[in-house]
Amino acid sequence: MADPMRIRAQAAGDKTTVRVLMAHEMEGGQRKDAAGKIVPAWYIQEVTATHNGKTVLTAEWGPAVSKNPFLQFVVKGAKAGDKIAVNWKDNKGDTRSDEATVS
């Protein structure tokens, strides 16, 4: 199981800015190790965000997203106390889901 994400959701008016920092290697499949073998790709492919259980965003990522990815998006109509959950799935089928409360 991967390390937890850091999620921060801040409401300003009717818009909530959500910032997510995920812990993931995001190996692009281009690098070579000391023995000259290509390090196999290992990266987050799908990201889903939900607001109080309703899906608000789905994203597909390629291997070019940086290590320990950062994601920022804006949710409309979320209030303080609402739950924002983010879920990812990598190309090896590993998943991780974390939740934050809007402040």
């Binding site: 991967a2 390390d3 818009k15 812990a23 290697e25 995001m26 190996e27 692009g28 281009q30 690098r31 070579k32 390090v39 196999p40 290992w42 492919q45 799908e46 965000a49 607001h51 309703k54 899906t55 608000v56 965003l57 789905t58 994203a59 597909e60 990522w61 390629g62 291997p63 070019a64 997203v65 940086s66 290590k67 990815p69 950062f70 994601l71 920022q72 998006f73 804006v74 949710v75 409309k76 109509g77 799935k89 190309n91 090896k92 089928g93």
Partner: protein
Amino acid sequence: MQTRRQALKKSAVVAGLLASTGLFPQFAFAAYNTAAFEAKNIQDALKALGAGAPVESKDITVTGPDIAENGAVVPLGVSTTLAGVKSMLIMVEKNPASLTALFHMTDSVEPSFSTRAKMGQSSDVYAIALMGDGKVLFAKKEVKVTLGGCGG
């Protein structure tokens, strides 16, 4: 935080499992558009997504640094003021695979996203919006990279 050693060990185990079952990771999820993410250039990636030729638009904004010292972490953002956007894409033209990130919109999210990407070399970065009516709009910005972040 996972150490590099743990990560490598884990990846070796999973790679072994995959090899023994003959199952490749990209077949695990039907929704993931492998063809688009493996496309070498912007045109092919758009074709794989079923989108037409892009038209430059002032209503799309791409944010990023003029000069990125470290190509492994380049903060990039896309946003638009237009309504009716279906998906937004970030593409780096000269990366081994152009398509970096693809965001599917819903009504409850603003068409504005930021993330960080790896860039192999100085290149134009494209923000592309796939509109609900089938139009494809783009904006681009050149980002110079001092130290590439893809190989080594």
